[in-house]
């Protein structure tokens, strides 16, 4: 399994929205030849649509608007799966509700979650939401993301070169 499989990879919206989808079940996505299934983005909430079972919102980081969905249907799931626990005492449901209150127009958020496809478009199924109070966080995050991916790109080039050199050596050995 790819080492990035379980990691929330820091991405810019433009990068996230242009990930190449792999036809696996569940769908996975590729970035610089690495499998990415979870993402972390930092941006401003520019749209919010609260429904009974979910909250949909858009996070704008200046490079794109990422659709995010925060599920609030834990009560329904618990009602069918477990009758012993009162819905109000479900910590997951409480946490989701608390997170939904943080999501308001104009706030700067750090959002982490699984990358999913909905009607052919990429969105984040939210795991957690963090309200960022430091206005410099977004700039620092962007600098970090760019540095990380510049490193990843050069690392993937090194790996590609190493792999090409290895296959050349193997071919030479086999031909002997």
């Amino acid at each position: 399994m790819d080492s990035l499989h379980l990691v929330h990879v820091k991405l810019l919206a433009a990068d996230l929205l242009s990930l190449a989808s792999r036809h696996t079940s569940p769908p996975s996505f590729a970035r610089c030849g690495r499998t990415v299934t979870r993402a972390e983005i930092v941006g401003v909430v520019v749209s919010r649509d609260r429904r009974e079972k979910f909250l949909r919102f858009l996070v704008d980081d200046g490079t794109g608007c990422v659709p995010c969905v925060l599920w609030l249907n834990h009560h329904y799931l618990n009602a069918t799966s477990s009758s012993s626990r009162a819905p109000d005492s479900d910590p997951t449901a409480e946490m989701a509700l608390r997170m939904s209150e943080v999501v308001s127009l104009g706030t700067l958020l750090r959002v982490r979650g699984r990358i999913v496809l909905y009607r052919g478009a990429i969105q984040i199924a939210v795991r957690d939401v963090l309200l960022e109070k430091d206005p410099n966080v977004e700039d620092q995050a962007e600098l970090g993301e760019e540095k990380i991916w510049a490193t990843a790109l050069s690392a993937s080039k090194v790996l590609c070169n190493a792999s090409a050199a290895a296959s050349r050596s193997i071919n030479a050995y086999v031909q002997k």
Partner: protein, 124 residues
């Protein structure tokens, strides 16, 4: 939610918003940051300033935001250019960003643009 319609607010500095600039076009979705110089309660027009340049921001769609002069604000919205090249940003969202390091912000803008250019050239 009109996710397919909403364009990202591309960050620009106020100095870049001049008629010859690429960002200076009708309906452009932009993100601007500046210090509040004045706010007109009747028209809901705020004037922000940064590095000698200023911009009018129409804040009539914004609620739950209180305006204080000399505080720093960031707005995302669409640019409305009048026939005399007078520009007003019609803000969709806004927030107080007191404490923002404008040098870091501009540095991050430059690096981000270089990175985006790299991405575009790699995809092309």
């Amino acid at each position: 939610m009109a996710s397919s319609v909403l364009q990202p607010g591309v960050p620009v500095t106020l100095q870049e918003l001049e008629p010859s600039s690429e960002s200076f076009r009708q309906g452009a979705s932009l993100r601007v940051t500046g210090v509040l110089q004045s706010y007109d309660l009747n028209s809901a027009i705020a004037v922000i300033q940064d590095g000698g340049a200023s911009l009018k921001v129409d804040t009539q769609n914004l609620r739950e935001i209180s305006f204080r002069t000399n505080s720093t604000y960031q707005f995302i919205g669409e640019l409305l250019i009048k026939p005399d090249n007078d520009a007003v940003l019609q803000a969709r969202v806004g927030r107080n960003v007191d404490g923002i390091d404008l040098n870091l912000y501009q540095q991050s803008l430059l690096i981000r643009r270089q990175y985006e250019a790299q991405l575009r050239s790699r995809r092309a």
